[in-house]
Symmetry: C2
Amino acid sequence: MKTVTLAHGNGGAENQELISKVFYKAFKNEILTKSEDAAVIEDGNLAFTTDSFTVSPLFFNGADIGKLSICGTCNDLAMMGAKPKYLTCSVIIEEGFEIKSLEKIVKSMKNELEINGAIIVSGDTKVVPKGSVDKIFINTTGIGQILQKGISSNLISSEDIIIVSRDIGCHGATIFAAREGMDMNSDLKSDCASLYPQIKALIEAGIKITALRDATRGGVSAVLNEWANQSDICIEVQEDKIPISDEVKGICELLGFEPMSLANEGTFVMAIKKEEALKALEVLQKFENSNNACIIGEVTQQYPKKVVLNSAWGTKRFLELPTGELLPRIC
Amino acid sequence: MKTVTLAHGNGGAENQELISKVFYKAFKNEILTKSEDAAVIEDGNLAFTTDSFTVSPLFFNGADIGKLSICGTCNDLAMMGAKPKYLTCSVIIEEGFEIKSLEKIVKSMKNELEINGAIIVSGDTKVVPKGSVDKIFINTTGIGQILQKGISSNLISSEDIIIVSRDIGCHGATIFAAREGMDMNSDLKSDCASLYPQIKALIEAGIKITALRDATRGGVSAVLNEWANQSDICIEVQEDKIPISDEVKGICELLGFEPMSLANEGTFVMAIKKEEALKALEVLQKFENSNNACIIGEVTQQYPKKVVLNSAWGTKRFLELPTGELLPRIC
């Protein structure tokens, strides 16, 4: 590592290398190195997380940078079993940016805040000269009230099975299509959505969740690999069980993408005790956004710290942590 | 307002217009519209604030973007009488940025975190293609434990006097000189510093603070005007009492700057009951960073919502909220 490359922001292997060798090394502390979606603070009562959004284009099928900036942070809180409560919002705007576009973005944020029952309590606005930033970047940082304690990527065991909340890869495929000017003539749109309503329903149904993570940069593949590594387990996935829409399949086949590595913004992976699985699916399938939630795999001790893809024909391959540039400015 | 201009980020009048017409309008809630340096949440126990740092150049006399990014957010917490506790850190890096420079920045952050006794508990790293960001932007968002409740810019009265913690304008003048390649052949350096140690000492000395604010973008002038407006008071400042170094005076005279509008990053303004003033000055003057702390003015009802500058010759003029472009990318 001499310079930062696009691959260092991919949510995969190089990203982890940069984070651990530069940031974790300097800032090392017990909370940070747990590497959860959000930090757990104040005696386990609050979750705290940050995300900066640089997506290009700013407006795309299914959402915009405003909606994304609230979903992204609120979802990270929800993934720790927390109710999103207080957010900060910091924007960096290029001079010349249209106020109308800014108002449209802010309106999307407001709508999505309401879905989460959260409020923006503090903000910052920077305006920088042309060429110093591409249009607008938004940071949101959130505090959530933890409703169910103990959700952690470090505690998954062979008693758990793996659920995915919906068909995968829609956000990545949508941004790619928009950026390449591909007219998909189809229903392809980003899955960008707030996940707190589903998590709240699971908790209210009395379901004990082992681990939760929204499959953003690096996709489901990154989540499963990080979990396998953090909990020292093998995750075996049935390839034919993974829900993928025809539109996403089409783009992946056309361009040689691995759908498991495509980014999502409203899709989560859950590890849960086997005996709770059917009840959890029943809860999730009541939501439009997770009506095709399903079990995709199980936890074994076959190949510790590895993710195995089992095909319908009985063959096996390892699913590695994504590497390379993937798609920059996906979120 | 049709497009965002550099003046919208000046910390002054246009900045307030953008914030109130776009952000406050959409996100309106009781905490946000209090417009304090940090939001007060959780029954008055915690302070919560955010800041994005875009300063150019990244390294300058007295500090760098890393030190600035910790001081900026920790100071906003300290200004609410809070001990900085947990921070998040989100960086947006341009591809090609040198790892060595990144490590230098991160080291500055680490040093400054230690001064505040705070830790980074969550982070985010985005890498964007060349031309999408100028080198590196850093967001930090912090939570602090409030040690003295009730500090507020909305409660200043005629019983208070106004103290400034040190000579003003050093950060603004330093960045300007660095950007223009001016060889000052002098001791001019940014005042960038963590203010928590001073605030802690004031609180431990049993001093009751009315209002505190660090005079960043828009300078002392912006702070005093916002206070006059928020507390519906007149602030009368003795012009010859304002401490300004010869170096800063030189730059201001050369370029026609108003020193009261120049940005600071380690200088605060305090409103405090008259009878507490001497004790407060005694505490502050023990710190190298505030050894020339002094009283600069008083609160009256002469011209409500206005700031008046009284010259040594007995003339008066209003000090307005700064307007125009001032200096973009100052922080």
